[in-house]
């Protein structure tokens, strides 16, 4: 109790120094809480932005693909997802799955008439089922037209529309007929007459999605000749044999030597098959992701899965990198604050040498001196930390409503653009308090060592 009394009054006696230290601790706490809240919010927002707008919780893709597909990357043509109907049916049957949205990415050309003849415009796009895609993902804000609800066709990003105007002198408008040109597997060019159904702006990751457009899945199949034999057209035995051949090598050879019946080509019916290269799976609860992935892996389907962060190419990594940088900068500033605090305490102890010596002469043990300074430190720093937490709370509450404005480049890579929605939670406050207490104790170790080494002689020699 006497230690507490001395500690408290000593603090009140050295007002200017106390104000300086308190200000530093308030600043450090503010930085800790806001920094931790910011990184945590950025992590959540980044994850939410990527999951809700691009990848879903995980991506399903062809097992024979050598690389993980990403809605953010357009480098290598990917194999189509085999047995898509089965995969979709299995996914739809899982209680944890909210939606399974297949899509593909590809390049094409849009051929349009211009003043100097025909112009072929480069066209990068997602091929999607418009209904399920627009129902599941919110990364598109329509500026004109609709998300192909009025019929099959293409959507063009506003940025792409401007680019066509500036670079090629062509203005594509909603309702305009265009010709899509796609290069088939055999090297031939397929042409498809279709219509511009809308112009949109991406809500997130505009740095990538300003250059990406949309096409409906049926048009995509036609442009790329994704056609097959309709079920029931082939002799039953052959269909069964082909089915078995997908399961084992032996079945392939067995098929070659067996009588599967003759094929009447005049009765064969063709149908468009899917050219989808991935299926984005949205879950009701992100926490069930690993369970669902493991369950899917055990089904023996010819597909693999990739987590949202694996499928988000380098964006998740950049976001994590920015978050790590914020943590590092915060830790560095906390370290500097601790260093200043330690030096100030050593100066204070040096000034109080006679007082400490007197206490030691009168019978104060080293532990009394240690507790005195530790108490003084914690009293000041915890009080300042509480003040810092109140200030942080106010700040977080303000930015919770409006979102924290960030430089566009930082925001784009951190959360896909726009202000960062701050998420209030107790965690950063608890972390800040623990860090302040721990750093205070650590920063007091050396000064306390100095203090406890002061002998009673110091009191005697104080002339």
């Amino acid at each position: 109790m006497i230690g507490f009394k001395i500690a408290l009054r000593s603090l009140l006696r050295r007002k200017s120094r106390v104000v300086l230290i308190a200000a530093l601790v308030v600043f450090g706490t503010l930085l800790l809480v806001v920094g931790t809240t910011l990184t945590r919010s950025a992590g959540i927002a980044s994850r939410a932005s990527i999951i809700q707008n691009f990848t879903g919780d995980f991506i399903v893709y062809a097992a024979r693909s050598n690389e993980i597909p990403s809605p953010f990357s357009f480098n290598t043509p990917l194999p189509v997802v085999p047995d898509l109907d089965k995969v979709k049916a299995w996914l739809s049957a899982q209680p944890e799955v909210e939606a399974a949205v297949p899509f593909a990415q590809n390049y094409s050309l849009i051929s349009v008439p211009a003043k100097a003849g025909t112009v072929d415009l480069p066209f990068i796009y997602y091929a999607v089922d418009p209904a399920s895609y627009s129902r599941t993902f919110q990364n598109v804000r329509m500026v004109e037209g609709d998300f192909m609800a009025s019929g099959p066709g293409v959507l063009i990003s506003r940025n792409q529309q401007k680019h066509y105007e500036e670079r090629y002198g062509v203005h594509l408008s909603v309702g305009q007929p265009v010709t899509l040109l796609g290069l088939g597997d055999g090297g031939g060019v397929n042409a498809l007459r279709t219509t511009v159904r809308g112009v949109f702006e991406p809500r997130y990751y505009a740095n990538v999605f300003n250059y990406i457009n949309f096409m409906d899945a049926a048009s995509y199949s036609q442009v790329y000749n994704f056609t097959g034999v309709a079920p029931g057209s082939l002799p039953r035995k052959l269909e069964q044999g082909l089915q078995a051949a997908t399961q084992s090598e032996d079945a392939i050879f067995a098929l070659a030597g067996s009588d599967t019946g003759s094929i009447d080509t005049s009765t064969l019916k063709s149908e468009a098959v899917s050219g989808y290269t991935m299926v984005a799976v949205r879950l009701k609860d992100h926490g069930t992701m690993e369970v669902v992935r493991a369950r899917l892996a055990s089904q023996g389907l010819p597909v693999k899965t990739a987590r949202w962060d694996e499928a988000s190419s380098f964006f998740a990594r950049i976001s994590s990198g920015i978050q790590a940088f914020i943590y590092f900068a915060t830790a560095l500033i906390v370290l500097v604050v601790a260093f200043i605090f330690m030096n100030t305490l050593i100066i204070s102890i040096t000034e109080r040498t006679a007082e400490i010596g007197t206490m030691r002469a009168l019978g104060g043990e080293r532990s009394f001196i240690r507790n005195l300074f530790l108490g003084e430190t914690l009293l000041l720093n915890v009080a300042a930390a509480v003040a810092g937490m109140i200030a942080s709370l106010a700040l977080v509450l303000v930015f919770q409503r409006t979102g924290l404005p960030l430089p566009e480049t930082v925001s784009m890579y951190l959360v896909g653009g726009g202000p960062l929605p701050m998420i209030l939670s107790a965690g950063p406050f608890v972390v800040a308090l623990v860090v302040v207490v721990a750093v205070s104790i650590l920063a007091t170790l050396l000064p306390v060592r100095v203090a406890t080494r002061i002998t009673p002689l110091a009191a005697m020699s104080d002339r």
Partner: protein, 231 residues
Amino acid sequence: MSLVQMVDVKKHYMLGDTRVDALRGISLEVQKGEFLAIAGPSGSGKSTILNMIGCIDNPTEGRVLIDGTEVEHLTDTELTRYRRSKIGFIFQSFNLIPVLNVFENIEFPLLLRRTLSKKERERIVMRFVEEVGLSDRLRNKPNELSGGQRQRVAIARALVTSPLIILADEPTANLDSATGHRIVELMKTINETERTTLIFSTHDLHIMEHARRVVHLHDGTVESDDHRGPG
């Protein structure tokens, strides 16, 4: 048995490259209840002797026994506890704890002991507050007191634990002559009423007049040891 026994005590320390011999073989015995002045010019070794009796410094050679205990073999914690229970200090610069008021400063050594109830502490403190005449200054901080009043607080603080010995290192050096005399008179009265052994250092001839025994030091040796009987 003598309360304090110093046997051929030598103390030297290094000041840069120079060896300083603070004590050059001091032998001294102090009996219980003595009122002893250690006199001598600056640098003669007065403070060094007090530091050794007060268990805050060790001899380079020789032995120091306090109440039969050879203190140089005690650990830091044992020495601290020994000081707390057996020795009271009065400092030249008063050395009051600046953030505590008169009452709290006097109470401080009792709080370090942690054996007495609040009521008991209050009773003891009030007894000595009255004895040094500071009943009307209980709530004042040291910076609100005169030099003489501060030294009275220091005397009361040294007395509250009923120590075997009170050591006063030049207790009047920072006081005017009249106040200095009053302080020494007060110490003498306490010595008589409490039967506490009181050893003080001084280089003031007028102040040492009050002592019943004066040990004169010169260059770290005892020059004379005058027993004057009742003063």
